[in-house]
């Protein structure tokens, strides 16, 4: 199972996990990213590069499939305006081995952060907006998986 979705709509985490569990591997790991409503932040606006996003996320998924013995991978990334508390991203992996499921899940979210063409803009209650700056720490984490 290989599922890549780039969409504005919300997703059902329970249904996504159930699909991975049904593969019969015995181990499912997942990560859900949610808009953090702190510091007066009311929403994030996610911009992406439509001509590139699906293919690039697909390459990241293929990299995970090449590195770990996985029965299934699901990646869902939303774009558009997402209010505080809304889900942004889901990564789920299924494997016969818990280490493969857990490691590949961490790899996928690290790579999505620094290798997928999305940009976040913060909207605050007072009306101010700010583009989120990339963190060197995130780039270092993604690079940590190479080699």
């Amino acid at each position: 199972m290989r599922r890549v979705a780039v969409q504005t709509e919300d997703f059902d985490v329970g249904a996504e996990l159930a699909a991975l569990e049904a593969l019969g591997g015995g181990g499912v790991a997942s990560f859900t990213g949610v808009v953090r409503g702190e510091g007066g932040l009311i929403a994030l606006e996610l911009e992406h590069y439509p001509a590139m996003t699906q293919a690039q996320v697909g390459r990241i998924v293929d990299e995970a499939l090449a590195r770990w013995p996985l029965l299934g991978v699901s990646v869902i990334h939303r774009y558009g305006r997402l209010e505080a508390g809304a889900r942004i991203v889901f990564v789920g992996t299924a494997s016969r081995h818990r280490t493969a499921a857990l490691e590949s899940c961490a790899f996928l979210i690290d790579w999505l952060k620094s290798e997928a063409p999305f940009w976040k803009k913060e909207h605050f209650a007072a009306g101010a907006t700010a583009w989120v700056a990339a963190r060197a720490e995130d780039e270092a984490k993604a690079k940590g998986w190479t080699g």
Partner: protein
């Protein structure tokens, strides 16, 4: 002609999300293209003058800024990505 697309604050500073420009000379790199755009001044200079803050893609593949344009059809200029 060559299509250029912009994202995030690069798009906002330039004031448009895409445009067609005269294809730069043979052997030109993305950095050469950026220099041509910076010379326009205004929002272009504001967005693109400091190339250390920029990332690029050639035909929907991330590339280093000093990569050749070759016979690419679409160049994208944007800040480091912040998805996930």
């Amino acid at each position: 002609m060559l299509k250029i697309v912009y994202f995030a604050w690069v798009r906002e500073a330039i004031g448009r999300d895409e445009e067609q420009i005269e294809r730069p000379g043979p052997g030109s790199t993305v950095a050469d293209l950026i220099a041509l755009l910076v010379a326009r001044g205004g929002g272009y200079a504001e967005a693109l003058a400091d190339s250390s803050r920029l990332r690029a893609a050639v035909d929907q593949r991330f590339v280093p800024i000093d990569s050749p344009i070759g016979d690419a059809r679409e160049i994208a200029l944007f800040p480091p990505v912040t998805g996930g």
